[in-house]
């Protein structure tokens, strides 16, 4: 029984499979079960049939077609026997030849051989029309073999395997009904009883009808559970299978009750069954076109596209717009997109398939695609092999981006922590020392009013108050240097007025921001302006400057321009460098243009979506 099960592909596979493709010199394809923790499944490769075998089987198929044509002419369906005979012969020829083509193209799939076998089934069943005793008995006993084999074939598409338990149940039940009841009939007749009685045959027919509709349900539920919108030839084929199952079910049921017009129902069913090979060939033709897409891909990759274009090129070649390419970053132990953002592989039951791509023994990437892409493993293999170096480049790109992202994150955290600390200091100064000094000064003036008659004391108190005022001035400057509280309190626009007013040169200030922005962004913008104006005062020898602050497309742009001598050294001091750190920590960019004699322009762009 294991032998038969193996031949018919009755042993199942779990729902989701991960295919591992090893690029480089030897392209070895390994089918990997998602459920298995290790990628250790054996290589599943079967030899392609030899040309001699193919020729012999083709000839046998034609002979079988001729035989069943001849036998069918003498059947009990009196009306238009040629139609019936021609349809049966067509099914035989088309299934055998089409099965051979599928077998040759995809030897690793069991669908081809199964289709060839199915092609011979009608001839075996037609033997019931033979006149000779034992042969006729076999044909009679197996008259329901063709529908069961078709049912098997339809459910086993496209791998040739029955992947679901329910499918296996239906097919095994079908064979049990055909062979078990057929054998019982033979034994009954051997014992001289009427094994061919309508009762037994109709029970057999009823069982097959039930199984045919069960198979129909299985096809429909499978179709609903996967999103295969992009492969119309395959859709058509599955629809044809479904209609053929309906035709077979109705035809057999009508035969059982001997309803009028049974022969028409049979013609329709046979016609639908005979249409499937045509659609299958059509699908293979499309796959051939897809192979030329690999050629296109090669040409496209030769022009060394940007890593960002690679995904689209692969999507075109594989005809799967939903395709995603994620790169394996071993140091982070995760997959990531081109921007270095971590991506999780889809889990089972998400209707996505995963193809792992290795190069020179290292895992580099994974393709997330529609499961239907796996129908063309050769194409998948060719495409990933063609894109090998480009994928490796993409991986390096993603790795770099991930590192940059990590760096940016830690930079942002450092800046934010320093900012918070400074804010705390400024607050302590404001609520503590500054308030106390003001209160002290007030105290002194009250004392002063009480000693009005004593000019010496008054003068001393006055002097002390002036000292306090000077100290407060200094403290104010220090506090402001530590943290610009006015930005947090009242916004960038208000704070910039003071900077513009206190600048060393006349400044034209334009602010078009429309409301408050997140605090770190406002503070960074404030520092860009204050640092730039400090540089204008120190080095630029400018006569005027402009400050332009605007918000557009989720970007805060702060630009300070002067008409000075230019030639600013961006590495000079820590000013501009520190500014760049602050801006870049927020994911922004600081640029400085400073041609000799052409003024200086500092522009910061900070995302503020």
């Amino acid at each position: 029984m294991p032998l038969i099960a193996g031949l018919f592909g009755l042993e199942g596979e779990p729902g989701r499979s991960i295919v591992r493709l090893t690029g480089g010199k030897k392209g070895v394809r390994t089918t990997v079960r998602a459920a298995a923790p290790l990628f250790t499944e054996p290589v599943d490769a079967q030899a392609s049939p030899s040309p001699i075998a193919v020729g012999a089987i083709a000839v046998a198929g034609c002979a079988a077609a001729a035989l069943s044509f001849d036998l069918s002419l003498g059947n009990e369906f009196g009306r238009a026997p040629y139609v019936h005979a021609t349809l049966v012969a067509w099914i035989t020829v088309s299934y055998v030849l089409c099965g051979l083509i599928a077998w040759r193209r995809r030897p690793e799939s069991r669908f081809g051989p199964l289709m060839v076998l199915t092609g011979f089934a009608p001839t075996v069943a037609r033997l019931e029309e033979a006149s000779a005793g034992p042969v006729q008995a076999i044909g009679d006993g197996l008259s329901l073999l063709p529908p069961v084999m078709l049912l098997h074939l339809f459910l086993a598409y496209p791998s040739g395997r029955l992947e679901r338990r329910f499918d296996r149940f239906i097919v095994v039940s079908g064979y049990a009904v055909v062979f078990g009841i057929g054998l019982a009939r033979l034994l009954l007749e051997g014992a001289g009883l009427d094994g061919g009685s309508n009762g037994v045959v109709n029970a057999q027919r009823a069982a097959i009808v039930v199984l045919a509709f069960g198979a129909l349900g299985a096809l429909i539920s499978r179709r609903r559970s996967s999103a295969r919108r992009f492969r119309t030839s395959r859709e058509l084929l599955v629809a044809c299978f479904a209609l053929a199952l309906v035709g077979l079910g109705v035809g057999i049921a009508m035969t059982a009750v001997d309803a009028p017009g049974t022969y028409v129902a049979r013609w329709v069913a046979f016609g639908l069954v005979g249409t499937a090979p045509v659609l299958l060939l059509f699908g293979h033709l499309r796959a051939g076109l897809a192979r030329s897409a690999v050629g296109d891909l090669f040409i496209e990759l030769r022009s060394d596209p940007e890593p960002s274009e690679l995904k689209d090129a692969l999507a075109r070649a594989l005809r799967d717009p939903s395709l995603a390419l994620v790169y394996w970053l071993p140091e982070y132990g995760t997959y990531a997109d081109l921007n270095g953002q971590a991506v999780a592989l889809p889990g089972p039951g998400e209707g996505r398939a995963v193809t792992l791509i290795d190069r020179n023994g290292n895992h580099v990437a994974a393709l997330l695609h529609d499961p239907s892409v796996e129908d063309e493993p050769k194409l998948l293999e060719a495409v990933t092999a063609a894109a090998g170096i480009a994928i490796e480049n993409g991986r390096l790109h993603a790795d770099l981006r991930a590192r940059l992202e990590e760096l940016r994150g830690s930079r942002a955290r450092i800046v934010a922590a320093a900012q918070k600390e400074r804010q705390r200091l400024e607050r302590n100064l404001h609520d503590g020392a500054q308030q106390r000094l003001v209160a002290l000064s007030l105290e002194l003036s009250i004392i002063e009013s009480k000693v009005e008659g004593n000019p010496g004391a008054t003068a001393q108190l006055d002097q002390a108050r002036r000292e306090i005022a000077a100290t407060l001035d200094e403290l104010r400057e220090i506090a402001k240097g530590i943290y610009p509280a006015v930005v947090t309190g009242h916004g960038l626009e208000v704070a910039l007025e003071q900077l513009a007013a206190r600048a060393a040169v006349p400044v034209r200030l334009t602010v078009q921001v429309g409301g408050r922005l997140p605090e770190p962004i406002e503070v960074a913008g404030y520092y860009v302006v204050s640092e730039s104006l400090a540089n204008v005062a120190k080095y630029a020898e400018a006569s005027t400057a402009t400050i332009e602050v605007s918000k557009m497309n989720g970007l805060l742009a702060v630009e300070v321009t002067d008409d000075g001598i230019g030639g600013a050294d961006t590495e000079r001091g820590t000013g501009l460098r520190g500014l760049a750190d602050r801006v870049e920590a927020l994911g922004g960019r600081l640029r400085v243009w400073s041609p000799n004699g052409g003024g200086t322009r500092v522009r910061a762009e900070i995302p503020c979506a």
């Binding site: 108050r465 506090a479 006349p506």
Partner: protein, 214 residues
């Protein structure tokens, strides 16, 4: 004259109340946050509210927002804002509508009791009080062919006092000159700066401020 005070530091709040009462003003409300102030302004309708710009809970702009709300809801109540820093931007925001009954002073100014009480009275009476730092910051701005540079030193002094909200009589007292002399200086300054001479003393504060800022 009835005064409401909003200041979160007890030390300053009580000191401030003490000096005002000493000067003969009636302190009707002592509040430690902005909400309390708004409530008490509604109930006691004082002549002037003295507001600290940074108050709980966030110590950001609660005081300023309370000041702007009092200006909008109770135009008859003068608002004097006190702060540890004076910013041109905040002055512009406070005086956006008009300079009538508005003041904005550095906190240190309270220790010059006489000046400070005069400023409180001025604001309560619908006049203005702008910290001299604002005016001098704006005057310190250099600009090409600036009409301000054509002013005589005396005219500059008058301009500073005028921009800070002093009345003509106040200017005359400060500079120890006659009221007529002040009037002559004022019209000369307006002529040189090309400003239309405005009637009210508060209105000319705003005009000068905007002129200097532009």
């Amino acid at each position: 004259m009835r005064v409401a005070i909003a200041e979160d530091s007890v030390l300053l709040r009580e000191g401030l109340a003490g000096l005002l009462e000493e000067a003969g003003l009636d302190v009707v409300a002592r509040c430690e946050d902005a909400d309390d102030l708004l409530l008490k302004v509604r109930s006691f309708s004082p002549d002037v509210a003295i507001v600290d710009i940074r108050m709980p809970p966030t110590h950001n702009d609660e005081g300023l927002r309370a000041a702007l709300e009092i200006r909008a809801q109770h135009p008859s109540v003068g608002v004097l804002v006190l702060s540890q820093y004076v910013e041109v931007g905040l002055a512009l925001k406070l005086l956006a509508e008009s300079a009538e009954g508005v003041g904005y002073l550095l906190k240190d100014r309270i220790s010059d009791v006489k000046e400070f009480v005069a400023a409180v009275r001025r604001v309560a009476d619908g006049g203005s009080a702008l910290d001299p730092i604002i005016v001098s910051t704006l005057l310190a701005r250099q600009r090409p062919d600036d009409p301000v540079s054509q002013l005589t030193p005396r005219e500059r002094e008058v301009l500073e006092l005028m921009a800070a909200g002093s009345s003509n009589q106040g200017i005359a007292d400060s500079l120890v000159i006659t009221l007529r002399a002040v009037e002559k200086y004022v019209s000369s300054i307006f002529g040189k700066l090309g400003l239309p001479s405005t009637g009210s003393e508060s209105r000319r504060v705003l005009a000068v401020l905007l002129y200097l800022r532009s």
